[in-house]
Structure formats: C-alpha cells, structure tokens
Amino acid sequence: MANRASALDTMPVSPLAQQTRGCLSVVAGATLVFLYLPIVFLVLFSIEPADTPGFPITGITLHWYEKMLADSAIHSALFNSVVVAVVVALIATTIGTMAAFPLVRGGIRFPGAARILFTLPIMIPGVLIGLGLLVFITLLGIKLGLHTVIAGHLVFTTPFVVLIVAARLQGFDRRLEWAAADLGASNRQTLRHIVLPLIAPAIIAGALLSVTLSIDEFVVTFFTIGPQLTLPLYIITQIKFGVTPEVNALATVILVVTLTVFGVGSVLLGTGRRFRRKDAA
C-alpha cells in the first residue's frame, strides 16, 4: 500500500469522507432509477397481455404492436411526423451548413452577434416559439398545416446544425484547401472533394439530430399545426382516455427509433474526431 500512496491519499480528508461518499452514491442511484424506471415500465407494459397495465407482468405478447400497426389514425400520424421530420432535416441541414461557413470563416460584419442570433433559438422556450409563430402566421393570413409545423421546427433545429457544423469547421485545417488549390482544384472542386467530405460526418449528425428533435416535438407542433396530428399529438389525444397498451407500444417504437438515430449520429461524429486526432499526431 505504501508505494501506491499518491498525493490524494496524503491530503487532509474529512473523517466522514467514507459516509459522504456512500450517501452520494445512494442519491445518484436514486436519481438514475427515477429517470429510467418509468421508461422501463413503459416498455414492459407494451408487451403485457392485460389491457389495464400493472404488476405483476402476466406474460409476453406482441398483440399491442399488431394493433398499433393496424390503426389507421396512427398511420396518418406517423406519416405526418416522418414527412415533417425529413423535410425539416433537409432544410435545417442546408441552411445550417451554409450559415456555419461565414460564422466560422468570417467575411461578415458583427460575427459575434450573428453567431448569437443564429444559436439563440436553442435557449428560447418552445411555448414562446410556438406562440410567436402562431401570432405571426395568423397575421400573415397563412393557413395552418404541416408546412407551418415545418417552419416551426426549423426555428429550433437549424441552430443545432449550425453549432455542430461550425464546431467541425473550426478544427478544419485550411492548409488542405491551399494544397488542393496548389494541385489545380477550383474553389468548387475543393469544396466538393476536400471540404464537404471532411465535414460530412457533422452535416449528417446535424441532420439526424434534427430528425430526432422534430419527431418528438410537442409544444411548437401544438401551436402551429392545423387539423392533422403528429405522433406526439396523437399520443396526447389518446391519453385523454387513459394510457392504453397500444400507446405504450407506440412510445416504445419511438424510443427505439430515436435512440438508433441518435446513436448513428454519435458514431458519425466520433469518426470525424478520429480523423482529426490522427492528423494532429
């Protein structure tokens, strides 16, 4: 033990250190349980045969998933959600990527202010965005529908794309662009063959994040939608009649899809980092 003594061991430590550490572990554990247990329940109840979910679990069934798949209301809600998410991802990624270039590379006036304006919507509460948009849309006399939902979602997804792509551009070695120019590439060719491939992981991650954010957004959607329903709205309407196992099944599917998309995004961003770290070495 003596030879393992480090500075930490010899530092003055409270006599209650052991107890404090124990208490903190309990608190941390309780927090995690509180965070994740409801989700575990939700998944468990989605495979429970009884139609009034509760313990003990009496068996395993995919009945609710079948029922969910057969429900035409869910079909249209799912369709709406996917359409919105895909369109939002495409537009947010395009605008966000284009915005990231001048924000990182300059050539604009008031870069600090521009950066704040582009990323501030992340901090603005959804209620404000939704309400503001509703007032604005009504003022313009535009009919509410999926297109207004898309506009609403763009407000808070674009900043995330800007942040992710800007971070990637920040670490971009501009000498690679000089090298490409030196080898005879035009600006457009340099963008296509050098810059875009190297920042692609960030762009795709931004798109995937936009999808996950858009798919489960409730507040902004609620303010800006017309007669249609998206998945989160559908779930809320169903809950008025009590939480059905069918909704549990639907929620489980959303959970899995969202986590998968998020996971793919993280892996992509990780790939990007690996490239850069090796360069530095």
Binding site: R175, L176, W178, A181, D182, L183, G184, A185, F275, D279
Partner: protein, 361 residues
Amino acid sequence: MADSTPAIELRHTTKRFGDTVALDDVSMVIEPGEFFCLLGPSGCGKTTTLNLIGGFIPMSSGELLIEGRTVTDLPPHKRNVNTVFQNYALFPHMTVAQNVAFGLRMERLPSAEVTRRTGEYLDLVGLAGLSRRLPSEMSGGQQQRVALARALAKRPAVLLLDEPLGALDLKLRKAMQTELSRIHRQVGTTFVFVTHDQDEALSMATRIAIMSGGQVSQVGTPREVYDRPVNRFVADFVGETNFLPGTVSTEGGRQMVVLSGGGRVAAPSGAPEGSATLMVRPESLTLRSSQEPAADACLAGRIVNVAFLGNHTRITVTTSAGDIVAIRPHGTNARPAHPIQELGEEVCVWWPADDAAIIAD
C-alpha cells in the same frame, strides 16, 4: 546554362505586410534543374519569397517570371509550380494513391494515365506497396514522401518545399536529405527549398541564398558561402566561426593582424591595411603545446572546455583576443603523437594565414 531561360526570375520584388517590409527589393535568378535553397533565420523573408513564387500571397511591387513567362498576377494553379507544405497537408480522407492522383484528376487526365503516373511517382519516392493506406496510418517520413509524390506527379517546372523536414527527428531528417537529393537528381525538376537549418542547406543545395531582414545577403554554392562569406552575418549563420577584431599593418615586410585584445598573427594575403575583423573556422585551427618552439606567430591561451562529440572534439580556448573554438576531428590519419586536449592546458593556437579571411561587418 548562360543562354537558357531561368526557371525563376524575381525582379525587384517587395512585399509589405502593413508597415513591415517582409521582402525588400529582392532580385534573384534560379536556373533550371537547380536545388536552390533559401536559408535564413525566422523572419528573414524566406517563406515570404516562397509564398510569392507559389502565388499564395500577392507581391507589393516587382515582377516574377517562371520559365520566362510573367506570372506575377496568376493564381497558384496557373503557374506550373507545386508546393510541398510544411505540415504536408495530405488529405486525411483519401488513400495515399488518391492523394497523389488528386492533382492529376483535377487536370482531367484519362484515368489510365492517372493510374500510371500515380504508380510511377509512388515508385519514385519508395512507397509503391503502401498506395492503399490512409495518411494517418503512416509515419512522418512516409507522409513526407506522399506529399513529395503528390506535388511531383503534376510535373511542375518548379517544386517549392517549405521546411519539409522540419517536423522529422534528426536521424530521419538526415536520411530524407539524402533521399531528397536522389529524387532531385532523378526527376531533374528545379527545387526551391526553404530552411533555417544550415546543415540541410549545405548538404542538399546546388546554390544557397542566405537571407536576412528581407534582403539577400549572399547567393552561392555551399562551398562559396562557407569558404568566402561576404559578411559577418553569413559567416556566423553558415557554420561556426571565430571572429577576431584587430588592425592590419605591415611589420618587417610581412602583413600582420594586431588583435584588439593583444597578440599578433599573420594576415591573409591581400588584406587591406586598417582595422578589420578576421574570421577563421574552427577546423582550420591547430593547437600546439606552449612549450613547443613556434616557427610562426601564434596566439597563446588556455583550454577552458573540452566537449567530446563522437566524430570530433570541440575545444574552447581562452586567449587575450577572446574565446576561440577549435575542432579536432577523430579518425583521421594525421593524428598528432600527443593530442593536446587537457582542460587547463596552456596552448598556442595557430592556423595557416590564408585559411583566415578579413570580412566586412
């Protein structure tokens, strides 16, 4: 050589960055096939010169000709010049072969030609077997070779190299110096090389331009700048030199230098009378025991430091004219019977009069 068009000609080139003059009315002619080295301390303007030739920065005034054609206002890719960057700037998402092929693909060469030439230049730099690797999977020396192959594959009239060996360790750097010389002989392209390392310049260059404060101090072969430096800066920057201030005067029909601190030594032939600085290289010096009867005038001193450096020993002698450094090579046939290199020993420093030179300050 005389009637051929120079590969590069700089005419009265000046580059200002704001109020600082990075390059001050520099004119320079580089002949085709040369391995031309721009040597100098940081901030001397050597990298600025390279960037001007490469077209990465515009010049403030002057003219640049490449192969007799004025290219002052042309962008980099229209100059028939390619660059090996200091950090190599390899494209991390492309394999070695794709990196080398990049410039050829931008030229829209037929793909068979691209493949053939990529193979040819990877062969040239000795990386034929590694074409499918990513740059991140290669050592610094190998990345250096890829950068070289990528630039050479474009078959430029001039290859610019910006301190390409700076990031390598000493041993690898020595090996790459030999390698660069070989590649230069093999392709015959004009190389313009920037470095602050005089060893690198002396060992590889056909001619060296020594720069200081935005101006060219001297242009010459490695031997010329080493043996006949035009001023104190060049003598000091290239190799190690002892400087001895004094006065040249004629005594009894022989020209002597009376050193400022005392002592007198024979002057090199043709030295003008008056105050002057004498320079003499450490390897020209001979140390004699002070007891030995001296035929010639020599400088008395005491050994204050002896450093064994493997293939030579560096001996510092304190004399009335200041500290003098002498180098004694090892392994030569001309070994004295009693080598003088004991600390504290009283010695006499002597050199052949014509091995020293009078130089301007």
